[in-house]
């Protein structure tokens, strides 16, 4: 029982990280339709921000965390400015910004790999190693409650939803489309950067950590459904439990357990592409 409880806590914590990455995808995909695979690299940048501020400069944790969050919001906003807005304004097809963001993915990754030596960089725990899982769960809950309240209770949040439902009509209602897009990218980078910062004490900041996170977060999004904020968290938790339960109990070699999220992703794409929760 003790064993199972430990497993449940650690699965819930990694599920929260996947959920945050899925939330980052969702924030951008809902109003714009753009799948931004660079979220994994954003998480990596967030982790390196944590390494730099908390390990190198030894800032107090809350201050370092806030600084990383602010920095990531700016990174997201800047990414939108460079790689998305010029294309949207020109009326390029939706594929163009997606490809430009794939290019940005490589730029982020290589910029970090140029700036830091290739070995893993340690990031300190927030409240000690035993309490990291609970810290991750707490921070993720705060983020999800905040985002949920933003979408459900504020006019700005409603304007996001309006853009998601019908871009043109929303623009005619006086909603500033480019501001919504910029905010969604800033928010996406913020969520992804937090995920990277939270997961980095366990895995260490490394410039190749992005792509696996991007795939796991995407799987979580597909499981939960792109329509609702709760779906991202639900998908992340389901994915993490499926992963950890197979590693612990299934009679297959440990390496094959890596294939579980990929198989889940393909199964969901085939059988239930709208995800578990439908849009309201």
């Amino acid at each position: 029982m003790q064993d199972f409880l430990e497993l449940a806590v650690s699965a819930a914590a990694s599920g929260c990280v996947y959920g945050l990455i899925a939330l980052a995808y969702l924030l951008m995909i809902r109003p714009t339709g753009i799948i931004n695979f660079a979220v994994g690299e954003w998480a990596m940048v967030g982790a390196f921000g944590g390494y730099l501020l908390l390990s190198e400069f030894e800032w107090p944790y809350p201050l370092g965390m806030a600084a990383v969050l602010v920095f990531m919001l700016m990174v997201g906003w800047l990414t939108e400015r460079i790689a998305v807005r010029p294309l949207v304004e020109r009326g390029a097809p939706l594929l163009a910004p997606i490809l430009a963001l794939l290019g940005m993915l490589v730029v982020f990754r290589e910029a970090i790999s140029v700036s830091f030596p290739p070995d893993p960089h340690p990031v300190p725990y927030a409240l000690g190693i035993q309490r990291q899982s609970f810290f991750i769960i707490a921070v993720t809950s705060v983020v999800f409650i905040g985002v949920w309240l933003f979408f459900e209770r504020t006019v700005a949040g409603k304007s996001f939803e309006a853009v998601a439902i019908h871009r043109r009509a929303a623009a005619l209602m006086g909603i500033n489309l480019s501001r919504v897009t910029a905010l969604s990218f800033a928010g996406g980078a913020g969520a992804a950067g937090l995920a990277g910062l939270l997961v980095s004490p366990n895995v260490s900041a490394h410039y190749l950590m992005g792509v696996p996170l991007a795939i796991q977060g995407f799987t979580a999004l597909v499981i939960g459904g792109v329509g609702r904020v709760e779906g991202a968290l639900l998908g992340g938790l389901l994915l993490a439990f499926a992963e950890q339960l197979t590693v612990r109990y299934a009679p297959i070699p440990a390496g094959y357990a890596q294939g579980v999220p990929l198989l889940l992703l393909m199964l969901f794409l085939l059988l239930r592409p709208t995800g578990l929760l439908r849009a309201k």
């Binding site: 460079i82 430009a100 290019g103």
Partner: protein, 307 residues
């Protein structure tokens, strides 16, 4: 000059060059030819049919691994191993394409991303059959009809592969099927209204180009005489996409120029900036999409129109 003579001339020129190169340069030349071949078939899928897939390099790997496994683990005869390898590629391609093209949007990109990752997991965990993380090595191209092709003659085989791939894609592009693919890329609704079966066109284009990638993989298997998981990872899948974008998506010339440029660039750049040429690729891709979406071929067209 008749078209047939032109193809023959190209074959003689490209293959003849191999006989004047040293062993090292022959190796570089073979890989360049293989990248161009892959870029050509990927260009048909991505540039002409408008589908983003990350599985093209995985199919290259499936082709390479399957021919080696069939030949040296199961000891099947050479022609049978090749046919089975192609069948395997077609089977996998259909299994991915049929479900994911039923859906709107970019589901093919995601399903193929998962497939590409799953392929690497299977290679690493395959034990004795796939050789695990170390892959398979120490095998040789079997004798066929009493001869063993080697040295520059093998480069000539790759030239034939490249020209064969180009010929197939060229003919397809100019047939009703190529026009159907372009219509599906530009506007699926209009294509459907014109009587094009959108889903079937996508599935056929994906399966065909994946099979072409698999055949190129089989040829690759005997270039280095080793196959291992890192070769077929996601990085190269991205590189392939970047080659087509930088060269100019939707044009055969674009695929050739992009593949040649991005393959040869590291050789020029590494003395200057070491291993950071990938950063340059990323910047090139973003710049190409922002400034010249038609790629280098589009740039050439624009320069010719307004000198």
């Amino acid at each position: 000059m008749s078209p047939l003579l032109r193809w023959l001339g190209a074959a003689l020129l490209l293959a003849g060059a191999a006989f004047f190169l040293s062993d090292y340069h022959n190796d570089v030349y073979r890989k360049l030819l293989l990248w161009v071949t892959l870029a050509l078939s990927y260009n048909f899928l991505f540039g002409i049919c408008g589908q983003i897939a990350f599985s093209h390099f995985a199919f290259y790997g499936i082709g390479a691994y399957s021919v080696v496994i069939f030949l040296f683990q199961f000891h099947l005869p050479f022609p049978l191993a090749i046919l089975l390898g192609i069948a395997l590629c077609i089977l996998f391609a259909l299994a991915v394409a049929i479900p994911s093209t039923r859906l709107e949007g970019f589901y093919l990109a995601l399903a193929t991303l998962a497939l590409a990752q799953l392929f690497i997991v299977v290679l690493n965990e395959g034990g004795a059959v796939t050789g695990g993380p170390g892959g398979l090595a120490n095998y040789k191209l079997p004798e066929f009809l009493g001869t063993r092709v080697r040295g520059p003659w093998y480069t000539a085989v790759i030239v034939l592969l490249l020209l064969g791939t180009l010929a197939v894609l060229w003919r397809l592009d100019r047939s009703w099927f190529g026009r159907a693919c372009r219509a599906v890329r530009d506007n699926p609704e209009v294509a459907a209204a014109m009587g094009v079966d959108v889903a079937r066109t996508k599935v056929i284009a994906f399966t065909l180009t994946s099979a072409l990638a698999g055949i190129a993989g089989m040829v690759y298997a005997f270039v280095d005489n080793t196959v291992n998981p890192p070769i077929f990872g996601l990085d190269n899948a991205f590189l392939l996409l970047f080659m087509v974008i930088v060269g100019g998506a939707g044009r055969h010339a674009g695929a050739i120029i992009g593949a040649a440029l991005l393959f040869l660039l590291p050789f020029v750049l590494s003395p200057l900036i070491g291993h950071h040429h990938v950063l340059v690729f990323g910047v090139l891709v973003v710049a190409a999409i922002l400034l010249q979406p038609r790629g280098l071929v589009g740039l050439y067209d624009a320069l010719r129109r307004h000198p």
